[in-house]
Amino acid sequence: MTADAGVVVIGWPQLVIAMLFMVFVGVLSIRLSLGLEKDLAIATARTYLQLLALGLVLRYVFDIDSPWLVVGLLLFMMAVAARIIVKRAPDAPRGLFTQSFLTMALTGFTVTFAVTGLIVQVEPWYRPQYVIPIAGMVLGNSMNGIAVALERIFADLDSRCDELLALVALGATPWEAAGPSVRSAIAAGMIPTINSMAAAGIVFIPGMMTGQVLAGVDPLAATGYQIVVMLMISAATAMGSVIAVLLAYRKRFSHDGVYLEKGRERAR
């Protein structure tokens, strides 16, 4: 770990001291009988291990500097994100993993390379120092948006199943019947991002900018990156939510346009 003059480097002693925060939270959990001690311990251990592993992997990937390695790593991140999405939507129809993976891939590659290629204009195109952190933010945020949107579309459709039957019986296509649910699900996926854009810089300093400022970058230079990142995140969330919901809603209808209730669909 190297640093410019004036930047305090976090080393092992600091990491150990930081553990005291978790000791405090653990004591709180015990005294208030929150029952979270085990989860906290696991989460803390994961934070240390996963982030240290990430640091090592990134250093390795930066050293090797191969386009294949960068793309491979991105595909791995997309697959993990797709798995998390599926786990968060327990009532989801089959085939959601493939769909989510394709959605993540389309969103992730498009938005990441739009930023690195058109805005930051990195050379060569795969330069890992730029591509990987940006892809991480794109994927993480669109994953959250997609998970919220999918949870909403399935819950909303199921709550409207009597209405969907009546609409389809009147000659509505799946799109006409599901329309209101589709719109509200896409909006639900995008709202957290819009809210965080509105609060950025007033209520909180965004994470990426915090990191850059702590690492000694001039705040105004960090601002430029942060603005690009926020706009990119909202594009990624919008794109991910729209694609995911449009692919998903149709799976709850039969080929001849009849709404399949949750239980029936899973039994098929």
Partner: protein, 224 residues
């Protein structure tokens, strides 16, 4: 009277608590022009299932359906459902006014180019089922259960289908409203169309024929 709706060898089975249950076992079923056919039978016998099969709202059902010699395969499922219209038992109102709800079917592609009824026609229709006091601008969420049942019946009648499939259309109605609804149904059939009603109540005077669904088979019920 010539046959309007014809169903041949309609079969449907589903997974029950104790294995596969056959609900419709090769049913043959005709509705002639001008007929009101009542279907009764024990709960769970598959009366609602039969209506859904006739409306092509049961993806796993098999059989041949035709309407005035046009087979169901010759049109899209949406076209079929706009001609053979099912009214589910539970009346559903979309957010919006009574007018919004009555005109909703004309927002669908299947009725593209068709003219939606005027306010005058809508008011006359409401009047016909004892809802003369309900204004078209009323929030549909504020209708009572019985009022919503009649509005949803009008919504489907106004689309002018060839066959109406009604799942207990008078279950939530008082005697006076039930009679008004029966009149509408009879007039609809007298116009050369057909009606199939699932009913639990005592026979009324408008049924042309009565059938009983039990043991996955349909039987004619003698007399009225």
């Amino acid at each position: 009277m010539p046959v309007l709706l014809s169903a041949r060898d309609v079969r449907y089975s589903t997974e029950g608590d104790h294995g596969r249950v056959v609900l419709l076992d090769g049913l043959d079923f005709d509705v002639a022009r001008g007929e009101v056919v009542d279907v009764s039978g024990p709960s769970g016998a598959g009366k609602t299932t039969l209506l859904r099969a006739l409306a092509q709202l049961l993806p796993d059902a098999t059989g041949t359906l035709s309407l005035a010699s046009e087979t169901a395969d010759s049109m899209t499922p949406q076209e079929w459902r706009s001609k053979v219209a099912l009214l589910p038992q539970k009346a559903v109102m979309r957010p919006g006014t009574v007018r919004d709800n009555l005109l909703m079917p004309w927002a669908f592609k299947v009725r593209q180019g068709a003219t939606a009824p005027t306010d005058e026609k809508l008011r006359a229709a409401l009047d016909g089922v004892g809802l003369g006091e309900v204004v078209l601008d009323r929030d549909a969420a504020r209708l009572s259960v019985g009022q919503a049942a009649r509005v949803s019946l009008l919504r489907v009648v106004l689309t002018d289908p060839d066959i109406l499939l009604l799942d207990e259309p008078d279950a939530s109605l008082d005697e006076v409203s039930a009679e008004q609804v029966a009149t509408i149904i009879r007039e609809f059939a007298d116009d050369g169309r057909g009606v199939v009603r699932v009913r639990h109540q005592r026979a009324d005077s408008i049924a042309s024929r009565r059938l009983r669904l039990s043991g996955a088979q349909l039987q004619e019920v003698d007399g009225r």
